[in-house]
Amino acid sequence: MCANSPSFDPATELTGPMTSAVSFKQVSRHFGSVRAVDAVDLDIVPGEFFAMLGPSGSGKTTCLRLIAGFEQPTAGSISIFGERAEGVPPYRRNVNTVFQDYALFPHLNVLDNVAYGLMVKGVGKAERLKAAEEALSLVRLPGYGTRRPSQLSGGQRQRVALARALVNQPKVLLLDEPLGALDLKLRENMQEELKSLQKVLGITFVFVTHDQGEALSMADRVAVFNDGRIMQVGSPEDIYQRPKTRFVADFVGSSNVLPPDFVQRYSGQHRWGSLRPESIRVSSAASGDGVAARLVGTNYLGATTRLALDANGLMLHAVVPAGTSLPAEGEAVLLTFNRESLHLMDEPA
């Protein structure tokens, strides 16, 4: 090990109020000709719950691995709480990861799994087992220490992985699609639990997901990734209500993307626009002030019904509450919406 490479020493560290938890400056990670991460600038505020959202292959996981130290940037600089991170191996970063497949050690029992980080740091046996037991209580698995990972359910394994990371008191906790393998009910419970855990601990959480609902409901701020670049960073409301690009509008909540010619008629500006499906009202009036369209399909989703509409060749989607009386498929309908809900996008792409 290189003795003079930068490392995280709490004694020498200066965390002023302006220091970012994680800061990317023009960071790129190229694999041959593939630009997994391309000139990304990013600042994560200490103590926030930050989500990286994007389709698979968009670079969000590579960004996470750059923070963890499993990847090194090909260009740019990364700092974690003000400390340069390039060249620092994963085991000398005060950052811990909850892996997508949990990556528990099958040859150790749950307690030894959780205590692993303290064990390799040389913490005494009694002390580290006590800390591990406390961490297990924190994730609501007290008394599970003697079991093997193979004896646990998926949700329990996930909690053990969480406890194993948290016991090291990381400054940043990285979560790589941690809820992906859980079923819907469990996922919703874990979402709430993760969020309240983050509030209690005050640790910066960086959360990677391809599920826009998960990102919107859990995060303080969301970064939307596409093709190795960040399309937009903002609060969930920002991202959802005011998407900057067609990609964001489409990926987050599958908004209706409207071409400039259409938008010009309603806003007077020749720009791309987005309109949320739930902002569209559908009535069976044959004429009036609105967009004439034809109902081509209905999709029952339980609490809501999703409608496919054809407005002179422009395909639109609307979401109406369940129980709304609907015209039959194929009939003419009139679409209305508030002008404020039509959002104009800055960038065409």
Partner: protein, 271 residues
Amino acid sequence: MRSDRGQRAPLGLKIAAACGLLFLHLPILLIFVYAFTTEEKSFVWPPPGLTTQWFAVTWNRPDVWEALSLSVRVAAISTAIALVLGTLCAAAVSQTRFFGREAISLLVILPIALPGIITGIALRSAFALADIPFSFWTIVLGHATFCVVVVYNNAVARFRRTSGSMIEASMDLGADGFQTFRHVVLPNIATALLAGGMLAFALSFDEVIVTTFTAGQQQTVPIWMLEELIRPRQRPVTNVVAMVVVLVTLLPILLAYYLTRDGDQIAGSGK
């Protein structure tokens, strides 16, 4: 293998299976019986009498001890070399991506796929070319070629079943490379290494072909036995040694089988 529980095999099939097993194992039983015969010049059936004197005779023959000692030492050192090289190679092939990875994997397995006589001739001419005199180490080198394969195959199968993110998780939790190897990698591949090692030991112990090309005047146990068959004197001594060899090689293979039967096949056990 049973495909259908409850469904009984027809009688003809049972008899055929019994005959097959007898054909395979009766000759081995005969070797054991001849170790106790009183006739020393040729093997006659039935044995004219039974005696345990050959155990004492074998015990007092220095050539037996020399051959046994050489075989054990060769097997031990070849296995040790194979454990280190085979594990390193398996780790490289299964954990990393590099140019020529598939080719290397094939080249490692080649010595066990090639007939031993080819390996033997190749090694002998290589030793002659490099002017290396035959010694203990030439035998070890010859044996190591196929012992590496056995360890490699077992280790690579285990590495494939081991989640790659486990190593990353260990590093993430603060363990450096050495700690990760000691606390995560080694415990997870230990039984595979034990199984591979025992198989390698057993293979080396009864290897004849490669050994004849690389041993010069030295005699390992199998070579000693071949020579002994030509001499019409104290024949049952060979059988006593054969019994020992069966025990020495069978027990590790059985143990290896039980250690890895949960999904891992014992690659190369057919050699």
